[in-house]
Subunit: 208 residues, 2 copies
Amino acid sequence: MAPGSSLWAMSEVTARPLRADAERTVRTIMEAAERTLGRNPAATMEEIAAAAGVARTTVHRRFATRDVLITAMATWATQQLADAVEAARPESSPPLVALYQATANVLRVKISWGFSMNTAFAQDGESARIYAGVVERCDQLFRRTQEVGILRADVDPVWARRVYYALMHEACQNVSTADADEADTDALATQLIDTLLRGLGTPNPQLT
Amino acid sequence: MAPGSSLWAMSEVTARPLRADAERTVRTIMEAAERTLGRNPAATMEEIAAAAGVARTTVHRRFATRDVLITAMATWATQQLADAVEAARPESSPPLVALYQATANVLRVKISWGFSMNTAFAQDGESARIYAGVVERCDQLFRRTQEVGILRADVDPVWARRVYYALMHEACQNVSTADADEADTDALATQLIDTLLRGLGTPNPQLT
DNA sequence: ACAACTTGCAACACCAATGACGCAAGTAGG
DNA sequence: CCTACTTGCGTCATTGGTGTTGCAAGTTGT
């Protein structure tokens, strides 16, 4: 998302912009919802409100229904995902560099917004539109990677993407939101790409 | 689970065994619940009952509360998982053979009981006990694989197991429960282990 | 300082899901 | 064939989450 943009821009344009403190509240609620629903997807609005340190009615004031909240979170997370990929310059950087960069960036986002991103897949509307662009960019990058010979030519592109996503998802598990500092995500990205390209086996295994 | 064992054995021993048709009903309900909850984890007991072709009250007759149903499904699925691993003779067969066999077997189970197995992780009680045994067996197998040189000696065992689980989980996605025939699971297992050991990159990539 | 906005609180209506009954009709199995 | 078991159906009470409203107190921004 472009710097300086407001959460207000995400919803209908019918309403006028929120006051500074209200906008802060909206973000606080979304972050609390991410944490809470991440632990328990069936958490109640009450629990989310408590985690955000606001009254339940305030949550409903900002997000009319539970669905609206979920959708807003999905859109927000998807936008961050798109920014993370874009920041890696996936079509101008050298493929391997872009792959590494994108992986590290996306990991950072996914660690903080794992729940929202997972639900974003099932959404349609704004987040679907954004997500389609991300997939497009990723496929481009994978194609470039394959052309250059980093990825084997005989691997099924669909399988490749799914393996990549799976590793991404797995790398985020058991990483508390707090310790998502640079070093960690860089190390994770390195490990992830190494595994993706080399696997875990020995180059020439003897089948003893 | 040993052949001939009954679902009755899973619950408290206080009740007496179910009649044949009742036991069939229990299985039908669990299978329907797996399908229904697999699509939508928040599905109601009504929907589950409908999917099973029985009245909602019948579901409650067999599973007093929603929790009891979930727990029963988790236990059942975990037991099938344990059997799948055990059938591969993970400590007597050659490591690579056992790994392949276990993978194929587990895939078959996981395709049909994905939801229940996922929830089983969070359970405690019977399914946790069974699952602990499975983890034990898997770790043994991984250790043997590493000793023999199939798995690189320098890979973190924890990361290895997580990658393996992630690939397993991914391989099951987008595979409808119906087409889980031998050929498919065998092909999946082959692809999975190949990716696990060799990765997707070229042996000697040039970083153009 | 003042107007506009935002929040917490308390109260309310509402609804869908849960879980429990009893009874009549149907089925299993000796 | 007869007994015991099982199921469907209708019905009921309860509960917990959802979403709304009005008002008083506090905050923002001009």
